[in-house]
Symmetry: C2
């Protein structure tokens, strides 16, 4: 099924205890699109870059099966640039540079060939832009999933609240869920957030896995215990990409299938952190992915006979 | 199979955001024994209290099936007392009072009727005392499990290191595993710790579940997402009690069965935190326990067909 992805396509410069990169390709929509390419060839990208963005990166996305008709290239402008340094624990980071550049006035244009989209993934962007994309689709997609971050809760909560009313699945981390709901208990937080609009909520907990909430159902996915997290950049976006593209591929939005989508998302995120930036997401084989999914399943499988 | 439990039997005074208690019954061996009573009636306790310890508490343990012949009552002395205040997030706490009292010179005496023990649970105590218990058993138990804490790593690391060589299963939390190994990655930490002696390692992660390590195998158990943690005191000891008593009951120390033991431990810990102190651990029914175990299994069960 067709999948529409919106988000940033950008430059990142990353420093971790293992080394540092120059400006490399990054951005939520880049990670989501690349990861999605392993599940579906029907990927439509809406994003914006400056004229400084190398054609080879756009060619790479196209080669991976991403339709870039909706990728605007702004003459005389610069691409979004983020630079950050991770601390030793890899769970926290300092932002060194944020240059919004083309993102400042991003007006998302949906090509007419994208209008039939059944699955929509709103990568992390201003909630107004996310809302605009939903408004500009002639037909509501079968499923709208969205990522956001604490930054938007701080500076654009009213707009975020409006956008949340329009979506089906919200994908955020535990800290963001606590901030958005004002509740420390994630069970209470999930209830409050689902009252704001989304009927499904995924809470990513980094090295502790992820939780999926829907009505009174909860699914807990483990994280793969890793020797080393090399670079966490893009892990959340890779999760979102694995999640939404598995749903688009299987075209089944039951809770049971969403559980599988969470495992696929977790598997793709576990690849992402093994190398810098998007490096590990290029050239994966289906066998590697299935083996990783199998590792996730084995990790938490237990066979207990109960007398009840 | 017979289970020998050693640890503190003590008074606690607890403050949480939900309220505070007077001096109530506490101590690692109290929690471990009470929880174990749901799996086996062959529980032998080695501990020490002062003459201030109420007979009704000892009677309660006996009524739950705990043999207290090894519980020394020291005339003219006072029982161990700990008082703490939990912060709002329930993940951190301040110790307000620690009075070692009878624990200061605890010389564990093993009654001859306890000598046949097959399963030994060394609750958190000084590593010298834990070591003494192993030395005083004529035959090595089939399985020796042990809990410890960062306090002993700070002040008695050489003694702790010696004791670790004598045990099979170490049960500690993630922070302690990192301190003991000097490794942030829990995979690396587990390898280092298993080289110190124990061939099995359980790392408890509180609201994030628990990990079981053995050779190259890893099992990840979820935590039950709770509306509210009322009082975390004793959760780790309840885990240890559920774990060791399930093994003693089934008398099967395969990795597969240890996975089940981790689920039972997690289930018992999840009961513990629902009320103050040991309150929730008294009068549980088998049906409640099995339902809780079922909830844990449902939480992480997912059915994926892979093509590999």
């Amino acid at each position: 099924m067709s999948l529409l992805i919106i988000g940033s396509v950008a430059f990142d410069a990353i420093e971790t205890p293992f080394g540092k990169t120059d400006k490399i390709i990054g951005g939520a929509a880049t990670y989501i699109s690349m990861v999605s390419s392993y599940h579906t060839n029907n990927i439509n990208l809406v994003a914006v870059v400056g004229e400084d963005f190398p054609e080879e990166h756009i060619n790479l996305l196209q080669k991976m099966g991403v339709d870039t008709e909706g990728l605007q290239i702004k003459e005389g402008e610069k691409s979004f640039f983020w630079s950050g340094r991770y601390h030793n624990d890899m769970n926290s980071r300092d932002t060194l540079v944020t240059e919004l550049n083309v993102l400042e006035n991003f007006d998302p244009v949906i090509p007419s060939s994208y209008q039939d989209c059944k699955y929509l993934m709103l990568g992390n962007l201003s909630p107004q832009v996310q809302h605009t994309v939903i408004d500009r689709l002639e037909n509501r997609p079968k499923l709208v999933a969205m990522d956001t971050m604490n930054f938007w809760m701080d500076i654009a909560l009213p707009e975020l609240t409006e956008t949340l009313k329009k979506i089906d699945v919200l994908i955020i981390n535990d800290e963001e869920a606590r901030q958005l709901s004002g509740e420390y208990s994630l069970v209470k937080a999930s209830r409050k957030i689902m009252e704001m609009g989304p009927s499904y909520l995924v809470i990513k907990k980094g090295e502790h896995g992820a939780l999926l909430f829907h009505e009174n159902n909860i699914f807990s996915a483990p994280a793969l215990p890793l020797e080393e997290v090399f670079d966490p950049t893009g892990a959340g976006d890779s999760f979102a990409g694995g999640f939404i593209s598995y749903l688009a591929k299987t075209d089944d939005i039951s809770f049971e299938n969403m559980k599988r989508a969470v495992i696929y998302g977790s598997a793709m995120a576990s690849f992402c952190v093994e190398k810098f930036g998007t490096e590990r997401l290029i050239g994966l084989t289906n066998k590697e992915i299935e083996n990783r999914v199998q590792a996730f399943i084995s990790l938490s499988s237990v066979d207990i006979s109960l007398s009840i």
